[in-house]
Amino acid sequence: MPEHMPPGTLLVLGALLIPVLRGHLRSAWLLALPLVSFAHLIGLGHGSYGEIQLFDYHLTLARIDKLSLVWGYIFHLAAFLCALYSLHVKDPIQHMAGLIYAGSAIAGAFAGDLITLFVCWELTAVSSVFLIWARHTDRSYKAGLRYLVIQVGSGVILLAGVLIHYGDTGSLAFVHLGDLSFTDNLGPTLIFIAFGIKCAFPFLHNWLQDAYPEATATGTVFLSAFTTKLSVYALARGFAGTDILIPIGAVMTAFPVFFAVIENDLRKVLAYSLNNQLGFMVVGVGVGTTMAINGAASHAFAHILYKALLFMSMGAILHRVGTTKASELGMLYRSMPWTTFFCIIGAMSISAFPLFSGFVTKSMTLTAAANEGWNLTWFVLLFASAGVLHHSGIKIPFYGFFGHHDSGLRCKEAPLNMLLAMGITAFLCVGIGVFPEPLYGILPYPVEFEPYTASHVVTQLQLLVFALLAFAFLARRHWETPELPCTNVDTDVVYRKLIPSLIRGFNGIAGPARDAFIAGGKRAAAQCVAYAHSHHGPAGVFGRTWLTSSAVLVIVALLSVYLLFAYRSGL
């Protein structure tokens, strides 16, 4: 095994062999690749690897330290779980795309310079779009195109920022990039915007809710794990302690709640929920203290697992009944009891119930924000915590597997590989919640946080159980927001409706103006032709055939006039 090969490259290279493998050999290969890649990572100690000179640029293909290792570990774990979950899929393109995507995200998390980061950044975009297109529907094709344009656009902005930064400083090192300023520090500011697009900052977020629910049942599980968390890592590496991240993150935690409450497609609900969870991590990165960075890193770790678990359970529903629209589901728990059970574990983890993973990670960020005096932010995060319980803790399992009526849908339980993947992920969600010490042990900084204090457990239970009481109280009176088949417009309305309408409106004015201009020009040209024809045509005065004698007479007359003038001049 090449010792200095950057982590993740084995996954990318190994994935290229997938199309030539069949049956059990392919399954074994899919499961072995993440394990081998993980072993490779473990074999590499802290330090820099793959230092090369490319033209004038000094590149460091891999830099392994405590911060990048958190993402390295969880990305490998996610790659393995996703591979197991999608083992039944026959389409080799999906397997290839999934593992290349995972490998490039891992390589991105270990990138030691900004050019390497850019290459991985774009490779994640290009490889992951095939997970959306693999659904082979018109909607997924168009959503994939929009996703690709935005993701590659983010990469182009990143590259522009990197080159400007290199021009200003002569450095490509992926370290803390300084303060944001369009006038004094343009390069890092563009890099920040590029990270913000992938991290789904408010108003830059809607590619996530647009594309993820259109991917295949297994593809969305892959997608949920890597892109956005790579950007959280990039923010933690390049912009930790940047204050503007705190209000951005706070808004991210709050606004998706209001979309999730009215969304009918449960995978879209989870996409909004993902946005909300990213907000907690962004706040942690923005606060920037050791506890806050630990909070963001541990939350990213736990979040990848419980969010994957929730997407897996919805993917199992999609696989079995072909839809995840709440208005079309009901009482599926009868057919899919194990999937229901795992979904509830994911729901309790994301809601941060004690003994589940969210409880021991998310609270670190809240405590760090409170410690640093971010009062309003703390209240927003607390509000968002109740929101999480609503859309992910209750809405997903309730409308996915129970609901108010029996939909009549009867199906088989999820395939064995899906159940195994869900089972392992659920086990890890509970395991981290009960024994957080191993997770705390791999965090970037020593952990000075005790999650299981009587006060923390009681207050968290009060928040969640009383919110649960509100749900029961409202549901018994049928006062909760009904699940209706609909489309809820978000910022994507700008590029899917508004801009096309403006273009059509412009065409409505410009088209007739252009036609009138062309018609006027044609008329003017026709008049010119007619005028010329009247004088130079066969009947025109200049078009006639004159007698030679007439011509001679005219010439004699002209010469006579000339002679007269010459004579007068001579006098």
Binding site: F258, I262, N375, A454, V465, F466, L469, V489
Partner: protein, 93 residues
């Protein structure tokens, strides 16, 4: 309850029966009341101390009331928000 209704109720899975849901609801209320006990103990300074960052956290049942109201507000806001952003299912088609 007639025999037919009783038979139908016993054929329905336990979790879907009206009686079970009522029982669970009452159980939830009991748990909620139980969760208020630590706040009483905190006020009386008996065996439990609530660790707080802000003064409001020290109020009796702050987290309980916050959770209930926040959840209800989110649901209520959903009705209003839906009027603003909801369109036909094939809006983008």
């Amino acid at each position: 309850m007639t025999d037919e209704q009783q038979q139908k109720d016993t054929q329905t899975p336990w979790i879907e029966r009206g009686s079970s849901l009522n029982l669970l609801y009452r159980l939830l209320i009991v748990i909620c009341l139980g969760l208020l006990v630590p706040d009483v103990l905190d006020m009386l300074h008996i065996g439990y101390h609530k660790h707080i960052h802000y003064g409001a956290e020290g109020w009796f049942a702050f987290y309980s009331i916050f959770g209930f109201i926040a959840y209800s507000l989110i649901v209520g806001a959903g009705f209003i928000w839906r009027r603003v952003v909801m369109r036909d299912e094939d809006y983008y088609a």
